[in-house]
Every structure is written in C-alpha cells, then in structure tokens.
C-alpha cells in the first residue's frame, strides 16, 4: 500500500477519534466544545512524556485518557450549568491557555521545539513501512472501538436520557435525571477520546510541538462533526474524511495554480474550511425554529 495513503488513513482515523469524542459531547449531549484540541494536546503530551520516560504504551494510553477527562471535569466546574455560550468561551480559552503552557514550559514540554524521539510501538520489530502499516491498523482498531461506544451510547438507555437533556433540559431534570452529572460525564468521556487520539498522534509522528495544537484543529473537527450531522457517528467519520480531503486535496492545487505560494495556499485551505462551516450552518439552520 502506498505510504502516502497509509499516512492519510492514519491521520483521518486519528481525526475521526477526536471527532467521535466531540460527537459524544456535542452531537449526543448538546455540549458545544470549541476547545477539543486542548484534550487532544494534553493526551499527546502526557503519552509522549511517559513514553519518553520509558513507560509502556498501555500506561501512556491510560494517562492520555485520564488527564483530559480530569481537565474536562474542571471545565464543567467552572462553567455555570454548562450553558452553551459560556462553554464555548471557556473551552476556546482553555485550549489557548493549554497551548501557552506547552509553549512556555520548556522544562516539561520542550517549549516551542516540542518533544522529539517519541517511541512508536512496533517500530523496533518491523521495517519502517511495515510499522506504518501496523500502526494504521492499530489506529483503525481504536477508531472502531470509539465508534462502537458512540453507537452504544446513542442506542442504549443512557442515549434516551441524553436525548431528553438535549431537547428539554428542564423536563429531564424534573424526571429526576441529574443533568449536570450526565453532561459532565459525557464531556469527560469525549475528552478522553481526544486524549487517546493525541497519544496515537504523538507516537505516529514521533515528535510533537505546540504549533500542531492550535484552535484550527478544534475547528476542523467541528466542521467534520457538522458535516456528518451531530449525533450520527457514521456521518462524523464521513465528515472527517471530507475535511481531510479538503485539507489534503488543496495541496494538489499547487500543481495547477503555480502563482500561489505555501502561505497563500494554507490560508486558502482555511478559508475553504470557514466557508464550508458557514454554508452548512446556513443550509441546516436557516429559518429553523428555536432548537
């Protein structure tokens, strides 16, 4: 299999994991998390630091799942009733602060240069191309597990509670459901998924730096979930694939439009993502009744 294609599939699967996490939060529970990259980054750094210290990949994965969940719980604590506009501001802000911490704390995170030489499991026992192939399979396996979790949560009794919360929070409360606890749990589980995605990301690339964890990641994932239709796990995966196509496909424009340099092309890519976001929202919500 072509190395480029393997790389694309691996990245799409990693993005898909972040997207499925956001799908739990936003699609199934109605929590608009604009800082999903924060959990992704914490997972990546936690796992990278542990792996660099010689820990087993399983330990690194566990940390990459637990630390983001703890951070998500903190977010829930400082956001009153997790109201959507406050949650949006807090998550957007938190992601920026987390990035600043990784950028500035050289002693723990390597500063602007980030962390290098992160071990990738399976790398020693195989040739580089075999290792990439195996890693892609491992990533897809994790993606499949996340997909099943999404599907189960949507169809099992808890899914009905979440649906009730999403459509009428006051009603759900009056039925004796602890709405805030459900919401906090879903925020935490979704954050864990992004964190585990971060662990895969760090190990796949074998280096990470703060520049990889800008708000752009959150927005890309947001657009992916939006394309897929919030709450639809399969749709989220399709949305992720489409966003990856936009991000990667525009690289080929360069061959045809030679006047555009790298900076212009990168900007154009983001403008396309922004336009896609606007068009989808307008198509879906125009003149719709109050949700």
């Amino acid at each position: 299999m072509d190395q480029y294609l393997i790389a694309i599939v691996t990245f799409t699967a990693i993005y898909g994991m972040i997207g499925l996490g956001l799908n739990l939060q936003w699609g199934l529970t109605g929590l608009v998390n604009l800082g999903q990259v924060a959990f992704f980054a914490v997972g990546a750094y936690a796992s990278a630091l542990l792996l660099l210290a010689g820990a087993h990949f399983i330990v690194a994965l566990a940390a990459a799942a637990m630390l983001p969940a703890a951070l998500a719980t903190l977010v829930a604590l400082i956001t009153p009733r997790l109201r959507e506009d406050y949650l949006a501001i807090v998550t957007l802000g938190l992601a920026e602060i987390i990035r600043l911490v990784f950028l500035n704390e050289k002693w723990i995170a390597g500063g602007p240069d980030g962390l290098t030489g992160i071990p990738r499991p399976l790398l020693g026992s195989a040739t580089p191309s075999e290792s990439a192939w195996l890693f892609m399979l491992a990533t897809l396996a994790a993606l499949f597990v996340f997909f099943m979790i999404n599907w189960r949560i949507a169809t099992f009794p808890i899914g009905r509670v979440l649906k009730a919360i999403r459509s009428d929070e006051i009603l759900a409360t009056s039925l004796g459901k602890n709405v805030l606890r459900f919401k906090t749990q879903m925020l935490a589980v979704g954050a864990s998924m992004a964190g585990i995605a971060g662990a895969f990301y760090a190990s796949y690339l074998t280096f990470i730096s703060p520049a990889m964890f800008t708000a752009q990641v959150s927005l890309n994932v947001l657009v992916a979930v939006l394309i897929g239709g919030q709450g639809n796990a399969l749709g989220v995966l399709i949305g992720t694939a489409i966003v990856t196509c936009i991000l990667e496909g525009t690289r080929f424009i360069k061959d045809y439009v030679s006047i555009l340099g790298g900076v212009e092309l990168a900007a154009l890519r983001m403008i396309i993502i922004g336009l896609a976001l606007i068009v989808i929202v307008l198509v879906r919500y125009r003149k719709a009744s109050v949700r």
């Binding site: 959507e84 807090v90 602060i97 900007a267 336009l275 929202v281």
Partner: protein, 284 residues
Amino acid sequence: MFEIKQYLVSGILIGAIWMLPAIGISLIYAVLRIPHFAFAEFMTLGAYLALGFAAATGLPFPAIALLAAVSCGLAAVIMDQAVFRPVRQSGVLPAMLLSLGAMLILQNIVRFFWGNGVRQYRLPLQRPLDVFGFNITPNHLAIILVSGAVVFALYVLLKWTRFGREVRATANNPELARVTGVEPERVYLGLNGVAGILAGLGGVMMAVYTSLTPLVGWNSLLPLFAIALLGGLGRVGGAALAALVIGLTSEYSLMFIQSSYKNAIAFVVLAGLLILRPRGLVAE
C-alpha cells in the same frame, strides 16, 4: 520604581486599546445574545486595511485609521446581513458557529494577502514625552486620548439618542422593545456597524502599539471577552473600567510571570467571574 511607573502607562495603554473592540463585543453579546468571536478578527482586518490604505494613498495616518475603521464597520454590516440575518430566530448555536467560520475566514484573508510575517506601519520614530513624570510617546498618548474620546461619544450615543435607547431596550427585553415600536433589524444593523468600527480602530491602535501580525485579533480574543463579561454585558462604562482593570492587571503581572502568559490572566479573570457570578453577567 521605574518599572512600576511604566507598567502603569502600558497598562492604561493596552486597556485603552482593548476597550474599543470589547465594548463592541459586549453590546453585540447583550443585544444579539451571542459571543461574537469574529469581531476580534475585525481588529486584524482593520490593522491590515490601514497598512493597505497607507501604501495606496498618501493620506495622513489618522485619516487612514478612520478609513480602515469605517471599512470594518461596513464589512461587519454586510457580513451580518448576508450570513447572520438568516439564522436570527434559530437560537445561540448557529450564530456562534457562523461567527467561528467568519473568524477563520477573516484571519486567513489577511494571511492570504499579506502573509504571516511581522510588519510595521511607517510611522516616524518618536521621542517619549514627560507627562507628570511618566514617559509616553506622542502616538501612545494619542491612542489613549482618541480611545477615551470614542468611549465618551459612545456613552453619549447610547444614553441620549434614539438609537441608543433602542439598543438598550432591545438588550433588556427584545419582545417588549418590539411591541413598543423598535425595529430590531435596524438596531442590529447599527450595532454591527458600530462594533465593526470599534474593532477596526482597536486593531489599528494595537498594530501601532505592537506590530502587525495575522494574530493581532486572535491574541486579543480572551482579554476582550474577559472585559466584556467583567464590565457587564451591554455596559459601555463597565467595559471601559474592566478594560483598564484587565490591562493593568496583565501588565503588573509581568513582575511575576512571563509576558507570554499575559492572556492567561484574562482567562483566570473570566473563569473566576463565571464561578462567582454565574447569573449576574447579563446587563440588568
């Protein structure tokens, strides 16, 4: 001692710059009920438009700043009519998402045309003046004075004019405002124009004070929202005061933390506010 005095000057200066876009965001939040992230990026657009106008025309810098600010106002109105008007009745979420999309597009339009590099306006170098024992350059003094004048004018506009009364009425109770004959769309139109002008002007000032980068707006986002929430949504005076508080806090924090953590101060204020006053943030 010198440091303590200079931080006072730079704190007031940064506060004076932040207060303009923050007031716009605060008014939009109070009236349209959405955290409108895109207005931070109108700062970036304003700053770079001024750079473009300066290159294209030979106008004096204040005229260029005004031109850039008015262009941002126009752009904000057009954006609101084209993109935000269709989802007016659809709740907070769609408008918030649209605002993110607009933020992304505005920032990257700037990157597309002007690149990622750091730029400066061609302003003559100035010797600092001695004002009551404080060192400040004429440009920086002008920023503080212009900002103060604009805030005063806004205060008068909102307090004493028909438009101002309509804005305040819509912020307090949109339904009641409507039945008493206020045309909400006219309020939204005017408000977007005002907020766009404020953001554009703030962006030019920020670029004069620091430099031009595509991140001018993004780096101001957290302070702007912290100021808008701390001042009380929809309150011009409150936002102005909050801007000074956050400006001074951020500058004096430099005595204890690295400058790159300045934004963290704004976030701590924001989080603290949400914990302490979960309900009391909207204008009474």
